[in-house]
C-alpha cells in the first residue's frame, strides 16, 4: 500500500509537469513561428535574423506567458488526478448491507443430474 501511495504521488506530480513542459515548449515554438512570420516579409529573412540571434529576446515574454499558466494548470490537474488515484487505491469496498454479521448454514437436501439424450 505504501509503495502504491509513493508511486502514485511521484508519478503524477513528476509526469504531469513534464508533459506540460513539453506541451508548453511546443506551444512556444508554434507561437514563435507565428511571431516570426508577422515580423518578416519572407522566411529567409526571418531565418537569417534568427541565426543572428536577434529574435531571442523578443520571444522571451511570450514564453513565460504560456509557460506559467501551463505549469499551474499542470499542477492543479496533478492534484486532481492524485486525489482520484489515491481514493481508488485506498477506498475500502462497500460492505454488503445485510450480511455483515448474519450467520448462515446451508444444506443440499435434494440433488439430481440427468443427462439429456
Amino acid at each position: 500500500m505504501v509503495k502504491k501511495f509513493i508511486f502514485s504521488v511521484s508519478a503524477v506530480f513528476f509526469a504531469l509537469p513534464l508533459i506540460f513542459c513539453a506541451a508548453a515548449q511546443a506551444e512556444i515554438q508554434d507561437g514563435n513561428e507565428d511571431y516570426y512570420y508577422e515580423e518578416y516579409d519572407n522566411y529567409n529573412e526571418m531565418e537569417q535574423d534568427y541565426i543572428d540571434s536577434e529574435v531571442v529576446d523578443k520571444a522571451s515574454p511570450k514564453q513565460s506567458a504560456v509557460f506559467i499558466p501551463a505549469i499551474i494548470l499542470g499542477a492543479a490537474a496533478g492534484l486532481g488526478v492524485t486525489h482520484i488515484v489515491l481514493k481508488a487505491v485506498f477506498s475500502p469496498p462497500a460492505p454488503d448491507p445485510y450480511f455483515r454479521k448474519a450467520e448462515a448454514k446451508h444444506e443440499i437436501v435434494n440433488k439430481a443430474d440427468t443427462k439429456i439424450g
Binding site: A75, P95, K115
Partner: protein, 245 residues
C-alpha cells in the same frame, strides 16, 4: 416499540467519550471544517436508540438448470435439479428511516450477545426513534439478498459444468423469527454553512460513520499550496531542461 418484547443493547460510552471520539474522527481529515470539530469538542452529541429487527429464518430454494459438461472432445447437456435448505440468524434491518442503510452498514457490527430485555432505566436518557416499517416490510427489504445468498450457495455445486442456464428458480420461506431491538447510537448533529451534517457512532463499539462536508477555505488553500508546489517543481524541471538543451 418500547415494550416487553423489545430487546435493547445498552450504551457502552459516555457523552464525554463520544464527543472525544467524534472530535478525533473529524480532526483526522484536515479538510473538515473547524466548526464541526468545535461542535464535537463542545459535546453537542446526543444518545439515540434506533429501532430495528433481528431476523432468523429458514428458506428452501429449488433450482432447475440446463448445464453442459465436457466429456473427452464432446459436450453433453445435463438437466440439474437442486434443493437447498438455508438457515440464517442475526440478520439486522432497521425499521426507522433516520439512518441510510449504507451508513448503517458502516456502523456495524453490533454484538447481539449484548442484547438485554427492555428496561426503561436503560433507555431513559436517550431518544427513541419511531419505527416506520413493519417486520414484514423490513424483511422484504432484505429478502432479495437472502435469496441471492442461497442461489450462490447452490451454484457452487455447479462449478464442474462448463455452462449453466437457469430454467426454474423458486424460494419458499419455511419459518421466520422476529425480534424487536433497539440499537444505541451517538449522534452529532450540526450545520456547516447552512448544510446539515450528521455523524453517527455505534453506541456499543464506538465505530463512527458519516462524511462531514469539506471546508471551502481549507480546500482552496490546499489546492493553492499544491499548485504552488507543482509550479516550483515545474520551474525546476524547466530550468533543468533549459540548461541541458
Amino acid at each position: 416499540m418500547s415494550d416487553l418484547n423489545t430487546k435493547i443493547i445498552p450504551f457502552e460510552f459516555t457523552a464525554q467519550q463520544a464527543s472525544h471520539s467524534f472530535a478525533r474522527y473529524i480532526s483526522r481529515n484536515k479538510l473538515n471544517p473547524t466548526e464541526i470539530f468545535e461542535a464535537a469538542r463542545q459535546g453537542r452529541v446526543k444518545p439515540v436508540y434506533f429501532p430495528a429487527f433481528e431476523f432468523g429464518c429458514e428458506i428452501t430454494t429449488k433450482l432447475k438448470s440446463e448445464c453442459t459438461q465436457r466429456e473427452a472432445e464432446e459436450f453433453s447437456a445435463v438437466t440439474v435439479q437442486r434443493e437447498l435448505k438455508s438457515r440464517f440468524s442475526g440478520l439486522l434491518a432497521l425499521s426507522g428511516d433516520k439512518v441510510d442503510e449504507t451508513l448503517f452498514s458502516l456502523l456495524e457490527p453490533y454484538d447481539l450477545q449484548g442484547l438485554k430485555a427492555f428496561d426503561s432505566a436503560l433507555a431513559v436518557k436517550a431518544d427513541i426513534h419511531q419505527a416506520v416499517l413493519s417486520a414484514e416490510e423490513a424483511f422484504e427489504k432484505i429478502r432479495p439478498e437472502i435469496e441471492q445468498a442461497a442461489v450462490n450457495e447452490i451454484k457452487k455445486t455447479l462449478r464442474d459444468y462448463t455452462s449453466e442456464k437457469t430454467l426454474e428458480l423458486s424460494h419458499e420461506l419455511d419459518s421466520l423469527d422476529t425480534t424487536n431491538i433497539l440499537l444505541p447510537m451517538w449522534v452529532l448533529d450540526c450545520e456547516y454553512k447552512g448544510q446539515p451534517c450528521r455523524l453517527f457512532m455505534n453506541g456499543q463499539t464506538g465505530k463512527i460513520a458519516g462524511v462531514p462536508p469539506r471546508s471551502t477555505n481549507k480546500t482552496v488553500a490546499l489546492l493553492g499550496a499544491g499548485a504552488a508546489i507543482g509550479a516550483v517543481i515545474g520551474q525546476l524541471i524547466w530550468m533543468a531542461v533549459k540548461t541541458l538543451w
